[in-house]
């Protein structure tokens, strides 16, 4: 079914259980689905934009209120809407990092974090992950010390992923922030898999920036996200324009420089705001998400040779499985080779696991109902039994 021209109607979420690790917590709430119907026109949020002509001052729809509420919710002083977490990274590096200056990165970070350093001609120095794929405060201190020896001064910023995209492991952010602050280095908390999914308190964590992704974890359309910061850094990172045209004398009010003025409009902004009340509530029930996730991992672990490659017991619903000794052995002789697993899942209305992969693969059960988690668990067992694997 086409929705326009040659564009297919996307009905993945209506027809399937979608396990795609990056899509799970970005599925829209009913409220956001309705809001995007009404606010899709280009500059829709500008209907009631009055002096001083800035997005975060708009009260209809309640964008201004959202800024206040979201900052308090994250335990920070100020927030800014951004078109995706990557733009928040870029805004922070743009304000704090100069040419050739070092930034500490976890080594398990998203590629856009690296690019946000590259775009300002900065230099990345990584923190080495532990053999069990964790980032520690000790390793952070070592990287900072190495950078100081190399550059002669402290790095300009430390990026730390609360939960990384590779394993869905949780990292010791609070301790890392303490270490970084001993060197007076500001800390950016990358919360793209936590903000909107589980409780986050930037003040308690002692970080200077909290970055959240609307489309990854706040049930919002893409591109959307949040940059939250403290009063100390707001004046630097969220600074307002001072430029003036040399011939015309034009000035641009209080537009924010780092994000080139009004940052997020239309459906991404209104969808994010529409989902916010439900998102604020859902973070308090992450334990229920973990229970549903356990139904699935327990079933997978009952298949002989199957292991969880992520930390275990699980603290997040994004998990990397190691099935090199189970599904991958079947793949070696199966007529569909590595595609047998995704094909068998698709036949049962399950999607989102990378087709053709049977050694290590990731999935995310966030947002599934218990009935869906049980169906998923049963499906994995059925597929194993169909292929004469030992289950028990």
């Amino acid at each position: 079914m086409k929705c326009a021209g040659q564009i297919e109607t996307r009905a993945v979420e209506e027809s399937s259980i979608n396990l795609d690790p990056i899509q799970a917590a970005g599925r829209l709430t009913p409220e956001a689905m309705k809001a995007v119907i009404a606010w899709g026109d280009g500059y829709s949020v500008c209907d009631n934009c009055h002096k001083p002509f800035r997005l975060d001052y708009v009260t209809k729809p309640p964008i201004a209120d959202f800024h206040t509420e979201a900052a308090a919710w994250l335990g920070m002083d100020k927030i800014q809407l951004v078109p995706g977490a990557r733009r928040a990274f870029q805004e922070v590096t743009g304000a704090l990092v100069g040419k050739g200056e070092p930034v500490i990165m976890t080594g398990m970070g998203h590629y856009t974090a690296y690019l946000s350093v590259e775009v300002v001609n900065g230099v990345v120095r990584e923190i080495k992950p532990t053999p069990d794929h964790h980032i520690t405060a000790d390793a952070t201190a070592e990287s900072i010390e190495n950078a100081i020896r190399e550059f002669g001064y402290a790095p300009k910023l430390v990026f730390v992923d609360a939960v990384d995209f590779m394993y869905g492991n949780m990292h010791e952010v609070e301790k890392i922030a303490k270490v970084a602050h001993q060197y007076d280095i500001p800390v950016l908390y990358n919360g793209v898999y936590t903000v909107g999914v589980l409780p986050v308190d930037g003040k308690k964590l002692g970080v200077d920036f909290v970055v959240g992704s609307g489309h990854k974890s706040m049930a919002a359309p893409a591109p959307s996200g949040i940059l939250a910061t403290t009063d100390e850094y707001a004046d630097i990172v969220l600074r307002t324009t001072k430029i003036q045209g040399d011939i015309t004398g034009r000035k641009f009010g209080i537009k924010q420089v780092g994000i080139l003025g009004c940052s997020l409009m239309g459906d991404p902004a209104v969808g994010l705001i529409a989902s916010f009340p439900r998102v604020k509530e859902r973070v308090n029930h992450f334990d229920e998400e973990l229970k549903n996730h356990k139904i699935v991992t327990d079933a997978l672990l009952s298949i002989e040779g199957t292991k969880v490659a992520s930390e275990y017991p699980r603290k997040h619903t994004l998990t990397r499985m190691d099935t090199a000794e189970s599904f991958d052995i079947v793949a070696q002789t199966h007529k569909k080779r590595g595609f047998f697993l995704s094909s068998a899942l698709n036949k049962r209305g399950i999607t989102g696991i990378m087709p053709g992969v049977t050694k290590q693969w990731k999935f995310n059960t966030y947002g599934l109902t218990t009935a869906q988690a049980e169906y998923l668990a049963d499906s994995f067992i059925e597929i194993a039994e169909e292929n004469n694997m030992v289950v028990g």
């Binding site: 209506e14 259980i17 689905m33 309705k34 209305g349 169906y375």
Partner: protein, 59 residues
């Protein structure tokens, strides 16, 4: 301007969205619980009402 027609269009779309949400919550088998069936029945009735308003206002 027909405010009634405008309201009916959005109400209908929002009601359809509620059914879309139920499809998502029950995918892939779409076996609805009694409560979901009851809720969907009421929603469908309400969509019919919006269609009647539209016929009355615009046709």
């Amino acid at each position: 301007m027909s405010q009634k027609a405008i309201d009916a269009v959005f109400t209908g779309l929002f009601n359809l969205t509620d059914i879309r949400v139920t499809l998502r919550e029950t995918s892939p088998l779409h076996h609805l619980t009694d409560e979901q069936k009851e809720r969907t029945k009421k929603t469908v009735e309400n969509i019919r009402k919006q269609l009647e308003i539209l016929e009355g206002e615009l046709l």
